[in-house]
Symmetry: C2
Subunit: 350 residues, 2 copies
């Protein structure tokens, strides 16, 4: 009988952060593709677009005028999924099938730059530092609102990721409940902490640094790696080397180091297929429920959909929806491909 070879044989990997598995089919990356191709948005965007509702000085859907901002700029989402209004509600504890509860929250949009055509990898590190400080301020301000217990910072980049405006921006959805994925993560971090009195992701990171098989970028304070249990072809996670729970715990040096690694990682992404690389990214960190959360570890996820080229993405459909996530290329292979990408953006190469 053939011995198990993780680089070749179909297998499942376990994700201890959310207690779920992923099916890995390394041999399947040779499959030809005759399906849907994504359209690549032309890169020739202007620095200012008079029709863009995020550009400085322009009018938004609700009639408000954007200031002529120079750094990151934050405003309330004009079409928020959450509302701030308090709603009277009596819970029926015996309800099994029709359990619902009102949810209060605040949604904000964070413009990363006044320039319509400037994405993270093309920004100077100081501009990314400014975005990080904006995230810190929002995490604090929103977290201080009495009914807000969780602040979700995220970015949808690229039309293939549902982004309806190429102007560089992210969002923040802050709300009373812990969202499902965060609650799963918290439960697993907590169980690990209770058992080992240490942090799951810190312990994991130490092992990853020893193995050095899935590391994409590293500096004194942060590591970007492809998790052993990654589901998206080029999924990565950025973890701090020091144990802390939230973005407001950053030292000045960590702010610079985080900005630097974000620039490096997103530059490698753009260089991979010489395209403005689409993804959803988001920060997972301590809830803002006023309790101490020693089990939490600040980290950031990048979930990019592309698989083979700028136009062929991975579809998480049928089997993945009914069964479990499935990937073809192994995380080790993806990490080595990303690692060897240049840190100089392809547009700036001579």
């Amino acid at each position: 009988m053939k011995n198990f070879d993780i680089n070749e044989d179909p297998h499942r990997r376990y994700n201890p952060l959310i207690n779920e598995w992923v099916l890995v089919s390394p041999h399947r990356s040779k499959r030809p593709w005759q399906g849907q191709n994504e359209t690549v948005t032309s890169d020739a965007l202007p620095e200012y677009d008079p029709t863009c509702y995020l550009c400085p000085g322009n009018v938004r859907a609700n009639g408000e005028v954007n200031p002529t901002y120079e750094n990151a700029f934050v405003f309330e989402n004009d079409f928020a999924a959450l509302k701030q209004e308090e709603i009277a509600f009596e819970e029926n504890k015996n309800e099994t099938f029709f359990k619902a509860q009102p949810e209060r929250g605040i949604s904000r949009v964070v413009c990363f730059s006044p320039k319509h055509n400037l994405t993270l990898p093309e920004m100077p590190v100081v501009a990314i530092e400014d975005i990080i400080r904006t995230w810190q301020k929002e995490y604090t301000d929103l977290g201080n609102v009495d009914y807000i217990n969780h602040v979700q910072i995220f970015e949808n980049k690229g039309s293939v990721m549902g982004c309806s405006n190429p102007h560089p921006h992210g969002q923040i959805w802050a709300q009373s409940s812990l969202p499902t994925e965060v609650e799963k993560t918290q439960n697993n971090l907590k169980a690990y902490y209770d058992k080992h009195q240490s942090n799951l992701l810190q312990d994991y990171l130490k092992e990853e640094l020893k193995l050095n098989e899935r590391i994409v970028s590293e500096n004194d304070y942060f590591v970007a790696l492809v998790p052993f249990w990654a589901i998206w072809p080029y999924e990565t996670m950025v973890i701090s080397k020091r144990h802390f729970g939230k973005i407001t715990d950053f030292t000045e040096a960590e702010t610079t180091a985080f900005a630097t690694i974000l620039k490096q990682l997103t530059t490698k992404y753009d260089n991979l297929f010489e395209t403005s690389f689409p993804y959803s990214s988001g920060i997972h960190q301590s809830p803002t429920d006023g309790e101490s959360h020693p089990e939490w570890q600040f980290h950031m996820h990048f979930y990019p959909p592309l698989l083979r080229s700028a136009t062929v993405k991975k579809f998480m459909v049928g089997y993945e929806m009914m069964g479990e996530s499935q990937r073809d290329i192994t995380p080790e292979k993806s990490a080595s491909i990303l690692k060897e990408q240049s840190e100089v953006h392809y547009k700036n190469k001579s």
Copy 2:
């Protein structure tokens, strides 16, 4: 303070099948859309396409020639995500971060019809009955393989759902382990059964029939409804009125009734935006591990991506990936829209 109105106020709903929540933002369906539009595939496909590797008599990637089949036709997937080979493997029970195990399985493709351009809603009921009998045979044959404990039957329809060939077909991935989503479902069905000595979905269905707010189609044996906790805009679930665990438990009358409701539901889908409606569908049923599973109830999920029109889909991205699934239109509204669609296919209307 305003009283909670489930038709208007942002809220979360609980899914007892997988123990997860969905965020519902009814007020948000008025949001304008400036993002990505899907391309609609032209409906003018030939009945036979000489370049299609699924059409009768044509050559597949591996050189095999398809028979000139007349009903449903099954073959092994030429680019299977799973392999049948047995792999020697020693588990390290203490592994926390790098837990992996080889996975054995069989992947098959089920061509629904020899006609390249005939989708489920346009097939006669007898042809759909033939597909159901094929699924029954596959569930039995694959389930009888000693190392196969789960048989996942599914269909990806439409290029937007990663389908690379419009020839009507589905897939079956059979494997040794219970996939993540199935395991979650089983755990919750089991907990309910242990507590109530009855079936979660049967009890749920009775309540739904009483309320009659989310029913899309119904006959003597099956109901198609939008679950209270649906995440996709027009998600539905088909449940049998009688309690049984698997497709091989169907009576003859149930086979006809199931074929009929599948035709009705998919016809309503096509009529909604007058397009060949894309979706991933899949059957959840008893594992084939040889044990009796009184907790299981046969049901079929439909996860369609479209939101507003044939070209605007819902993106499950950023917040949804990091936080939890989110929907705009309420399940009640979706159900009533689907319910009022004709059962005559739009192409056959005079």
